[in-house]
């Protein structure tokens, strides 16, 4: 981005921002409101398409937003984030198929597995910078994808986890009921976004911004850059994994495609569509991406062509994600009216 933009953008940091607590409560309230609206949606619209759509939004949204914690906030362009999406789906699916533990246990255990794997892979990857970080994450992703394909006895190879994922009810929640799954996905999405928003607004979030801007300087004010990068790498992996779990529940299975690089590519693409400079950019991107995908595939066989042209419009026409564009436009308009504070 150019310096010019920065000059235009930037409404001031209010001194009142120092009083941070009300903001957190406000975010929580907004999240609650969004959840209530989403949860009530099925009463208003009977369309099952909408439910399916929101569930997929939850899966992709958590995935894309967590990727933005790396790409947008820390400047770590991961090309391999999809591996954790896949790991979540496979971990959860396998746990449910093989062990028959209750869903919450499988959920926590899957996150624990993701934590371990992300810690090891992250410890190796975050030492590298810039494009090399991108490459090495990509290589790890392909390695994991290769392993999923080769380890047929466990993963079912290219056919994925077959036979459906059992979904015994717990706490009165029955995830084989689509409505329950919908509400659960909404809850996970909202909680996930709230947590990630908290991370982004925490002191650690600012540590990440400093590393993104100037990692060398960050280390000279006492930040252990490697540790901070590893921490966010692992945290982001956990949220991506949660997205994978939702997806596994939705399709009642797990497939190697989840851990393929196209998944990571889609994540990057979503971020670019929505914009990486705002917290909700990736969420907007997710909605945009899924709407595009769904409408274009139903309208034409040549969806690649149409999708490609739309992407070009964003990349060459706007040169930034939608949210970035909107916010800049908004800021410019405000400046134009001379109401800058």
């Amino acid at each position: 981005m150019t310096e010019l933009q920065a000059e235009q953008g930037t409404p001031a940091l209010d001194v009142s921002r120092v009083e941070a607590k009300p903001r957190r409560n406000r975010d929580a309230l907004i999240a609650l409101a969004v959840f209530v609206v989403l949860a009530l949606l099925p009463m208003v619209f009977s369309s099952k398409l909408l439910l399916d759509f929101v569930i997929r939004c939850a899966a992709y949204g958590l995935f894309a937003t967590s990727l933005n914690l790396l790409v947008g906030y820390t400047g770590l362009t991961s090309f391999g984030h999809g591996m954790f999406f896949g790991l979540g789906a496979y971990g959860f699916g396998l746990m449910m198929q093989k062990t028959g533990v209750p869903i919450p246990v499988a959920f926590v255990a899957t996150l624990a597995i993701t934590f371990g794997v992300a810690l090891v892979i992250g410890a190796i990857c975050v030492r590298l910078k810039e494009i090399y970080f991108a490459f090495v994450t990509l290589a790890f992703q392909m390695l994991i994808h290769s392993t999923i394909l080769s380890w047929v006895s466990l993963t079912g190879g290219d056919q994925g986890l077959r036979g459906g994922i059992p979904r015994p009810s717990f706490w009165g929640i029955d995830l084989s009921n689509h409505l329950h799954l919908y509400v659960m996905s909404c809850a996970l999405l909202v909680i996930g976004l709230l947590l990630m928003c908290q991370i982004a607004q925490s002191p650690f979030g600012y540590t990440l911004r400093m590393i993104r801007d100037n990692a060398t300087r960050a280390s000279f004010i006492g930040i252990d850059v490697w540790r901070a990068k590893l921490t966010i790498f692992v945290l982001a992996a956990l949220f991506a994994s949660t997205g994978g779990i939702i997806m596994a529940l939705f399709v009642s299975g797990a497939y190697p495609e989840f851990a393929y690089w196209t998944m990571s590519g889609e994540g990057i693409f979503i971020n670019m569509l929505g914009g990486v400079t705002t917290f909700l950019g990736p969420m907007v991107g997710t909605v945009l991406f899924l709407v595009l995908n769904d409408t274009v595939t139903r309208l034409t066989d040549y969806h690649g062509l149409v999708l490609g042209i739309v992407i070009l419009f964003f990349a060459i026409g706007l040169r930034k994600g939608l949210m970035d564009f909107v916010i800049e436009w908004y800021a410019q308009r405000r400046n134009g009216r001379g109401e800058r504070d």
Binding site: I131, F140, L143, S146, F269, M272, H303, G308, I311, L312
Partner: protein, 303 residues
Amino acid sequence: MLPLDLDALTGCLASSACLVTQTTSGFIIGMLLFLVAVGLTLIFGVLKVVNFSHGAFYMFGAYFAMTTYQFSGSFALAMLCGAAGTAIIGLIFERGFMSRVYGADVLMQLLVCYAFVLIFDDVVRMIWGPEFKSMGMPAAFQVAPLFIAGGVVPPYYLLLIGVALAAAVVLGLGLVRTRIGKVIRAAAHNPGMVSALGINTGLIYGGVFALGGMLAGLAGALAAPVRSLTPGMGFSVLIESFIVTVIGGMGSILGALIGALLIGLIRSFGSLGFPLFTEGLMYLFMVIVLVSRPTGLFGREVA
């Protein structure tokens, strides 16, 4: 089940016939990869763009060659059209689209490439149809394979290795010896200086893209007689040549050559020793190289 067959591997290493056959087989795989990878690395070296749509150039080269061959029956003309046609596409791609996102976020460049991967695949599907095609081996090469030191080498593959090596040499010498080569190398180091010297950087960028496209197109054209043609065929080639450039070092031509040969040899000997994990082997190798030497075997440390 561990996918291991070390007996086959050691057995082969002990036999000269096997050694020759597998080594040439590694070279064949490697040299085609090199042609694709060298364009990728050149474009990265000069423009700092990771051209994810490079596989599409390879695809176009193959389709152009097939169509030319069908109409003219001339193999040489088919190769020429494959290379030249793709060069033009490369030029249009860079001047018309890529050049508009220089200076923007690097990810925007990726996005443009991604868009064109989708578009190019669909364009090919529109023009040539979704079914796979085959160009067929020209009659001149439908001859019995040669035997060298007990190893089997088909004449067509000798031609293929020769053309790719010639391209490598011409490219290497061209960059070092010629004026235009020097300008390109200078542009890679310091684009500002080149434009300050009154040289049109746009022309150079377009030229480099055309050159890279041409080489990938040539690879596609050379592959057309032995590989089936489908929309999306560039994809797996892109991934492999990408591994090659990363291993060799982004921006290094020698690196691309060595990297391509290494991958070729890993494939040819890996398929003996690790028949079910050859692919994984390549990624493992890439991880090891990246971790121990992030800039690749021949990459320069970026200041």
